[in-house]
Every structure is written in structure tokens, then in C-alpha cells.
Amino acid sequence: MMNIPSEDEMDDALRARYSQEVHGTLIRAKIGIAGLGGLGSNIAAMLTRAGISVLIIADFDVVDITNINRQNYCLDQIGMKKVDATEVQLKRINPYSTIIKHDTKLTPSNIPDIFGGCDIVCEAFDKPSEKAMLINTILEECPGVRVVSGSGMAGYGRSNEIRTERLFADLYICGDGIDMEEAEGGLMSPRVNICAGHMANTVISILMNGDP
């Protein structure tokens, strides 16, 4: 096995690729990810590659064979807690990043404690009522925390129908707005990743004070 680069070497590599302003902003950010399914597991990997070094991840589920078609896990992780499997994947990308894990079901009573200190939280649940619960709880009880939400990414084709909109002052929505029950093909990796890419890109864009 090759030697793992040092933290300074990794830092230099990212700094050389980005400007100091971009790298310095990403490395200081604190990003929450609620749900580690198709959206959350892929967003976590993208943000870690980009240089986000503090992630707060939450999910109560375990990796299942039906997850492999779109979620960022491998067959040898079936049966692992998703928070643990995600941590393994992220530490392979950047062993020096800080991953704060919450192996728990998110509710209105624990969400403010878990995500209250984040700059941005990615809503990556699958059920519409759970999405609404998380978003309302954060917007009501965690002032200053912005939310990037995924809403509609099932099926195949129609790549350009997935879009990002800022709908409230602190709420950005990525997706095509079509329920998975109504989209032909169910949830599939490419289109889930297009939506996850919108969400991760929106996180970076917000941090840099840009438009989504």
C-alpha cells in the first residue's frame, strides 16, 4: 500500500488547485448532511473531495443490497451503519477531515442540537413529510443556518430538468419536483447524482457568497 500523503501535502494540493480564498473558505465551513442515502452519501463524498473538512452526518439506517444502485457504498459494507460506512468512504478521500456522526433518527427535538452550529444543512431524506419536518425545524429554530434540499430526482434522461432555485431567504431547492412514484425507472445513480451535484455545488456557491 502506498504511503498516505500528510495533512500538509493534501492542504498544499488543494491550495494549489483553488485560490487561497476558495480553499480557506471551504476548510473553515461546517456542513450538515441529514440522511445518507442516494443524495447524502454522494454529497458527503463530493464535499470532502472539494475540501470541506468538517461534516456533521446523521442517519439511523444500515447499508442494504438495494442501496448499491445509487448510494456511495460498496458490497462489503452491507450491514454497516450508514454513518460508519460513510465515515470509512470519506476517510479514504481525506483522512484528516472531521466527521461528526449521529446514528439516530432526526426529530424536531434533536435537530437543533445536532445541526444548530452549521453554516448549511443538506436535506437528503426520501419521504416528503420528513423533508418538511427537517426544513421547518431548522428554519424555525436554527436562525442563520441555510438549507439546501433535494426534491425530485427519480428516473433517467431529462438531465436538464433538474435545477436549483432559491425559494426562501434561507432555503434552496434542487430537483425536478416530480415524486419518485411518478417517475419511470425509480431512483437511479446518474440522475440522483445530478441532483446531489446540484446540492453540493449550491453549498459551495453559498459559502462563496455566489448565486446558486
Binding site: K127, A132, I135, L139, S149, A154, L171
Partner: protein
Amino acid sequence: MRVNGKDLEPASRMTVEDLVLSVGHRPDRVAVELNGKIVPRSEYAHIALKEDDSVEIVGFVGGG
């Protein structure tokens, strides 16, 4: 009033919950902003809408 960028005449004594239902959403699957501020879910049935209000309703769909 303005609802998601369109003009709409509020029915008399229309609450936020009435409006959410009338535009075809389930109240447990939305977030609502009234005049730029999030409306707490516990207030949906109690806040009456006025002529000069501006409302944004976001409905969420399954998949993630």
C-alpha cells in the same frame, strides 16, 4: 395577495392552512414563508391571510 409570484384573491378568513390545501398541497409536506418569514407549522391553522400578504409555498416530493 401574492402566492408563489401570482396574484390571488384571499377568501374571507382564509388561513395559511386553508391556502395550502386550496393549492393542492398537504400541510405536512410543505414549508411556507409569509412576507419573507418562515411560518411555524403550529401557526398554519391560526394565521389569517390579508390582501397585501405575500406567500411562498414549497411542496416536497419523495426520493432521495
